[in-house]
Each structure stands twice: as structure tokens, then as C-alpha cells.
Symmetry: C2
Subunit: 449 residues, 2 copies
């Protein structure tokens, strides 16, 4: 099927007039929303640079859209549009399917059928890859096809390549990511302007940074899907969405952020994947990050992924996590990679199949520092009682502050623990619930740095 290998090696066939005969590579697009539009812009705008790299023109041959009659922000030949995705998938001249339509079950069906037909896949679909990545990659391997998904995590940051290739030599011990721009925008605004969650969410919606139904972002599900992908690649084991414990930012208050800053922390929604002794744990939660940690100063809609490896030590990768052109940059870089493989006849042969058995850390082994804010009866002996409970479950404390509450007759106790196991912390908190002097467990956050 692929006759390009020779021409790639500089021995291109000529037509009878002596002109070079280089077949263009034809790409089919599923979806022409924000990212799809960016893909068309880059493929057309950077055509000269792209074809210089891959050795032939890249043509977007067919585009599946919901409505072919809709007005578009870019000029697209109407003849290329279709409302039937199958027409793109079954198109005989198309070698690369770019999936930027989103969706899960139906989209999976399209992609599996495309693979069945020997077409290579580039997708920006984190939901699909987090939920069905292993099935899709298995089918790709069977059919010797590429499936690339750089754009599915952290938009324009080439973090997937970095984990697969840049750190192939190392053993990753930690991946810590701000991988959701919407929630980082909200937390940054709350921190910088002292605004409430509700106010900033409304602003983010007005700016188009948050969806009308923001659940997937603010409840941490979007971040969890991305962390499942990063965990799989970083730890070379099959991390599933159900392995990720998730807590969103909806209950983060102005007060929490004020306390965080006063203690020298910034509040961030962090995805954290940890490995110790070949046991792993992956979670997403609002986290107080020490201000001097490189990830603490990642603000607004920007994303960043901090990676720690046994050999390489601390690294961090920063950039736009979403948006038309940044995300399309990753999609088109994947198209370039597929085409280079096509020309060399090696598609599907470099796939990384997770080869390690997955062992999740038990609650006894999951360690973190913690911030706890308690409202308690303002009377003698309460602090002693509370610190005694921490001692009982062997949680040692880094700092304890008791102060009157500004708004009511209770006292506040602010505690930061040293590293403690999740099991112990759960026991402490359970014990607190039955303790009469504690009026309210106001907040509990993970602490990093």
C-alpha cells in the first residue's frame, strides 16, 4: 500500500515530464469545532513547513460535521464536508483519521472501525483514551496502526512524548499536574482577587473558560481522566479511571485560600500520581502547594506537569492546556509523526504496551501531609484532647495554631501534619466526628512541598 518509502529516501518517482510525483497524504477529520478548526488552520497555514518535514503534501480530504450548512469561522470547501462520519472512516484514500469530535461510545465505534480498515488515528479525546485506551491500543497493535493522543492531556505541552521517549530511560516516581485550565483559572482568581467560588465560576462561564454545566471540570473528573493517561504512561502499567480517587473544588472557600496563603501555600487542583516500591496511587484533589514549588506559580488557564524521576530528578513542563491552536499544535505534530512512520513503513511498531502489573498502594501506604481546620468549643483542654487523638493514631504534627474565630464563639484550630498515612488520617477524622468538643471539621486538604 505505501510506495513512499523510496521517495522518502530521496529517490522520488518522476512523471514523464521529469516532475516529481509525490502523492499527498490524505487525512480525514471527525469534528470541526474549536480544535478541528485549529487543525485546518495549521495544516493549511504551515503546509510548506509540514511537507518539507514529511516529504509530501498533507491534504485534509474529508470532514465530518454535525451540520454541513452551518457558517464556519474558516473557509472550508463545502464538498469536503459530510454529516456522515462513516463516509470519512470508509474513504479509501484516507490514511489518517483525526478525531476531534469528542464523545465516548459512538466515537469508540468509529475509531475501532477505522483501525479495522488499517487507518491510523490521531485523537484529542481524553475521555475515550482514559476509558477505552487499552482496548483501542490493542486493536491498533493487532492492525499495526498508530494511535497518537498527545492533545488529550495538557493541550500544547508535549507531555505524552516526554513520558514515552524523553524519560524512557528513567523510573518515574511522581507526576503532579495542573491539567485542568478551568479550575486553575477559578482558583487563581479566588487567590488573587479574594473572590468567592461562585463569583469566579460565573466569570469563567462568561469568558468561555467554563462550560454551562461545569461539573466535569469542577468535580475533578476531567483531571482524573488525564491523570489516568499520564499514570499509565509514566508507570507503564494500566491505570484505569476507577483507580483515581477524585475530589473537586466546589467546596473550596475564600477562607481556605486565605489560610493557605497565610501559611505560605497556594491552593491548586492537583493530579498526583505517586510510585513507591512499585506500588502506585493516583488522585486528584485541591491541594495546598508550598509557594516556592515550581508548580505553585502556574496561574490562570495554563497547565503544567511536574515530573520526578529517580535519575532525572525534578522537571516541569508548562504551557497552554487548551484552546484552538495550542491543542491543534499537538494534533498536527501527531499527524506528522504518523506520516513519518507511514513513509518508513513502521506504523504501530513502536507502541508502548503497559508491561507492569498494577499494584495500588493500600490506605496504609498512601502518604501525605495534611491541613485540617476545626471549629471547636472555646474552652480549656480541647487542644490537648485533639492533639492526643493525633498521637493515638501516630500522626505527627508540623504545626498547630489555636485562635478565636472572628465570626462566632467557637475557637479555630489549624493543624498541618507531617507525612501521615491515609488510613491513619481517616481514623483521626472519624474519631473527630464523635468528639463533642469539635463543632465542625471545617476543611481538610492535602499539602505538598
Amino acid at each position: 500500500m505505501y510506495v513512499w518509502l523510496k521517495s522518502y529516501r530521496g529517490e522520488g518517482e518522476k512523471d514523464i515530464g521529469g516532475r516529481s510525483l509525490v502523492k499527498p497524504v490524505k487525512v480525514g477529520l471527525l469534528g470541526l469545532g474549536t480544535v478541528g478548526t485549529g487543525v485546518v488552520r495549521i495544516v493549511e497555514g504551515n503546509q510548506e513547513d509540514l511537507s518539507s518535514q514529511v516529504g509530501s503534501p498533507i491534504v485534509i480530504e474529508k470532514i465530518a460535521v454535525k451540520n454541513t450548512e452551518k457558517d464556519r469561522v474558516i473557509a472550508v470547501d463545502r464538498a469536503k464536508l459530510t454529516e456522515d462520519p462513516w463516509e470519512v472512516i470508509r474513504h479509501p484514500d484516507i490514511d489518517v483519521i483525526v478525531e476531534v469530535m469528542g464523545g465516548i461510545d459512538q466515537t469508540k465505534e468509529y475509531i475501532l472501525e477505522a483501525l479495522e480498515r488499517g487507518k491510523h488515528i490521531v485523537t484529542a479525546n481524553k475521555d475515550l483514551m482514559a476509558l477505552h485506551g487499552s482496548e483501542i491500543l490493542a486493536k491498533a497493535q493487532e492492525k499495526q496502526c498508530d494511535v497518537f493522543y498527545e492533545a488529550s492531556v495538557a493541550g500544547g505541552i508535549p507531555i505524552i512524548r516526554t513520558l514515552i521517549e524523553g524519560f524512557s530511560s528513567d523510573r518515574i516516581t511522581r507526576i503532579m499536574g495542573i491539567v485542568n485550565g478551568t479550575t486553575n483559572f477559578i482558583l487563581t482568581k479566588m487567590s488573587q482577587e479574594g473572590a468567592s467560588y461562585e463569583e469566579v465560576l460565573a466569570e469563567a462561564q462568561a469568558l468561555g473558560y467554563a462550560e454551562t454545566d461545569p461539573t466535569s471540570d469542577v468535580e475533578g473528573l476531567d483531571a482524573a481522566r488525564k491523570m489516568a493517561i499520564l499514570g499509565t504512561l509514566g508507570f507503564r502499567t494500566n491505570v484505569e479511571l476507577k483507580d483515581v480517587t477524585v475530589k473537586g473544588i466546589t467546596s473550596v472557600t475564600r477562607e481556605d485560600i486565605t489560610y493557605a496563603k497565610r501559611l505560605g501555600y497556594e491552593m491548586k487542583l492537583l493530579g498526583i500520581a505517586d510510585r513507591r516500591d512499585d506500588e502506585i496511587t493516583i488522585s486528584v484533589q485541591p491541594t495546598m502547594v508550598r509557594q516556592n514549588h515550581p508548580i505553585a506559580s502556574v496561574n490562570g488557564v495554563f497547565n503544567a506537569v511536574y515530573v520526578h524521576g529517580e535519575a532525572v530528578g525534578e522537571t516541569m513542563f508548562y504551557g497552554a492546556g487548551a484552546g484552538e491552536l495550542p491543542t491543534a499544535t499537538s494534533v498536527v505534530a501527531d499527524i506528522v509523526a504518523v506520516i513519518k512512520n507511514l513513509k518508513l513503513g513502521v506504523n504501530g511498531l513502536k507502541a508502548i504496551v503497559p508491561y507492569k502489573q498494577k499494584r495500588l498502594q493500600s490506605d496504609e501506604h498512601i502518604m501525605s501531609k495534611n491541613f485540617i481546620l476545626l471549629h471547636v468549643d472555646d474552652k480549656a483542654g480541647v487542644l490537648a484532647q485533639i492533639t492526643q487523638i493525633f498521637a493515638e493514631y501516630e500522626v505527627s504534627l508540623a504545626s498547630v495554631v489555636q485562635q478565636p474565630n472572628e465570626h462566632n464563639p467557637d475557637a479555630e484550630i489549624i493543624i498541618v501534619t507531617h507525612n501521615a498515612s491515609k488510613a491513619s488520617m481517616d481514623k483521626v477524622l472519624k474519631h473527630f466526628e464523635s468528639l463533642a468538643v469539635i463543632r465542625r471539621i471545617k476543611s481538610v486538604y492535602r499539602v505538598e512541598g
Copy 2:
């Protein structure tokens, strides 16, 4: 020569007992200093992970050292050591030569001969690649061999892969790097502790962060070589060392850093590669960077490379720029890449040959903001005279402060310009030299952000 292709596809040959027969890949090492030691540690320590990825064991077969009798920090089989690099290069079973010995002319000869013999090269040698990269890569292409050099720039940060693959789709407009850890350590200490250049240099030498002869680092030459490599990859044109204008940090004073901080800047030795309208310019110089720019908070021996692309926007890559294991991480990742190509039979076929004609910006087109500190006669009309000269050469000013000097009877004038061409700035400074009221042009720095 390579019979692995089949086994890589899962159809490995068996011996008569039915056991899988996987030939190990043999690697030859030139040099066993800091990085070489790290390479041995990682190849041995991560052998299981590495062979899972490439499908066969990786064996370091032969190591060229200066003195085979020297005590080593790691246990190495003496039989593998040789004092004759040619023995490694001519070894018939070795497919991959890892060059971590440094040096230029003699080393180039070794590498060209190894390529001539069809061996693939992994090198950490920025000097060699900056000076002779195009010759070496041309020979590699001729012989269909890989030459990978991720470790030559920014140690453990996979910035070369990122520029070649991650941003293959984009047009890079700017690369701005802290690519020399020694000078960043010195400037950070000067900034944080108010110490002098000489004091901190002595400390850096004591800590092993600076060489006994620190010239190559502190004069900016090391950074310039790395920027030539990054410029070549980012702009896809052949940037040579002579295209990089260089100024080191030896004349940076405590006073300069104090002024920088007072104005909201950090002093950094920045490599800056800019592209506008397909004209490029590359320089290395101490630069005042606005404190809120992501690169301003990169401290100590850490490196960072900030990349701006037309589509992807702002990105930054941060990590250890030197050191045994971080640098070895990149070397071994390159070994993995070579071996994967070996197994697929595609070595040397993905090489990026710079395909754009190089056009350097003229001094009229090189734009930057500038900081100028002048010592002037403390009398009426001086400021007017000076600002008149800026106006004459069409350099507009962002801020001007005149104040008495604490230590002598002169006045100080501190000027920050808006973007101005290098040509105009040179004329202004030349004019200043002939102006009687200016006692001294105390400092001139580029300003970013």
C-alpha cells in the same frame, strides 16, 4: 546485519530447546567521567525496564578511558576498559557508540570513523555538535546512521525531542533559555544574598559547580554553543556559533542586580533566539527579566528553556541542566531510541536536515528593551541633553530616573527604553561616549518581559 526486526514484531527465533534467542545490543562507551558513570548506573540499574521497552538486553561492551588503573566510583569489569578509543570504535559487535569524553577535533575524528563503520552515535558533546554538527549529521545521513544528542543541551530536559517532534507542526518564533547552570547559580546567589561576583564564583568553584578555569561558562561561550544547537532545531536552519553574539556575566555587579530588583527584574544569563519575518537573531547576554515571567524564577543550577510558537504560544521546560544522572537520563533515552530504530531498520531515516535558508537580522531589525545606567555631572540640563539624544535616534523611553549617587559627587541616571533597534542603541551609546557631561556609561543590559 539486523535480524531483530522479526523478533521485535513478536516472532523471535527460538533455540533448539525452545528458548527465545534474543541477541543483546552492544554499546561502546567513550569516556567514564561523571556522565559516563551515570550511563553505566542507569543501563545496569534499569536494565529490566530498558529491555522490556526495546525487546533485548543492553550491554555496555567496551569503555575507553584515560587510565584503566584508576579507581572508579562504580564497579566496572576491568576487562571492558581500554585506553584506546579505536578499540571501541572498531569493535565488530558494537552497534552504538556513546560519546561522553568531550573534546572537539580528536573526538570528531572518532565519531566520523564510527559512522563510517555504520555505528550509531549518542553524544552529550555540545561543543562538538555546535561546531561540527552539520558535518557529522551529513555523514550520518550518508551512512544511514542515527546521531542523537539530547544530553548536549539542558541536561535532563528533553528539549531537543520537544523541538524536533513536539513542535514539528508549529513555527517557533522565540527560544529563550537559561542553559548554563554555573552562571545561573552565580547570579541567583548574587541576587539572593547580595554577594559579589568574585565571592560567589569562589563558592561555586568550591562546590564543584564551576571549573577551576570558568571562562567557558562565565563568558557565555557554553550557553552560546547550546543556543546554536537550539536555534538550528527551532528555526530549521543551520545556525553556527559565529552567528551567536555573546556577552558573559563577569562584569555584572551587585549594584546592577540591586537596580534590577528595584525595577522588578531578575538578572539572568539568557540565550535568546528570535525569528521575525523569517529573519533570525541569536544572542547570549545577561538580561533583566521581569519577575513575573516564568523564566525569572528559575534559580540555582536549574536550567529552563522557554519556547514561543505561533500556534502553541508560551511554553516552558524546566529541570536539572547538568549532573551525573540527569544528563545520563537523556543519554540513555537516546540509546533506547537508537535501539528501537535498529529493531525497525529505520536508523538515520528520520534525521531533520535544516532546510531553510539562513537570514540573520540586521542591526536595524534586532529589537530589544534596554536598561542603561549612567554616571553624569550633577548639574542642570544634563537630563535634557541625554533624553534629546535618545529622541534623535528614535529610541523611546519607558522610564527615566535621576538621583544622586551615594558614593561620589556624580548623579546617576537610570533609563529603561521601549523596544529599540540594536543599530539605534549603538548610535546612542557611541554618541554618549563623546558627551562631556557623561562621566561613565556604567551598565547596559537587555530587558525582557
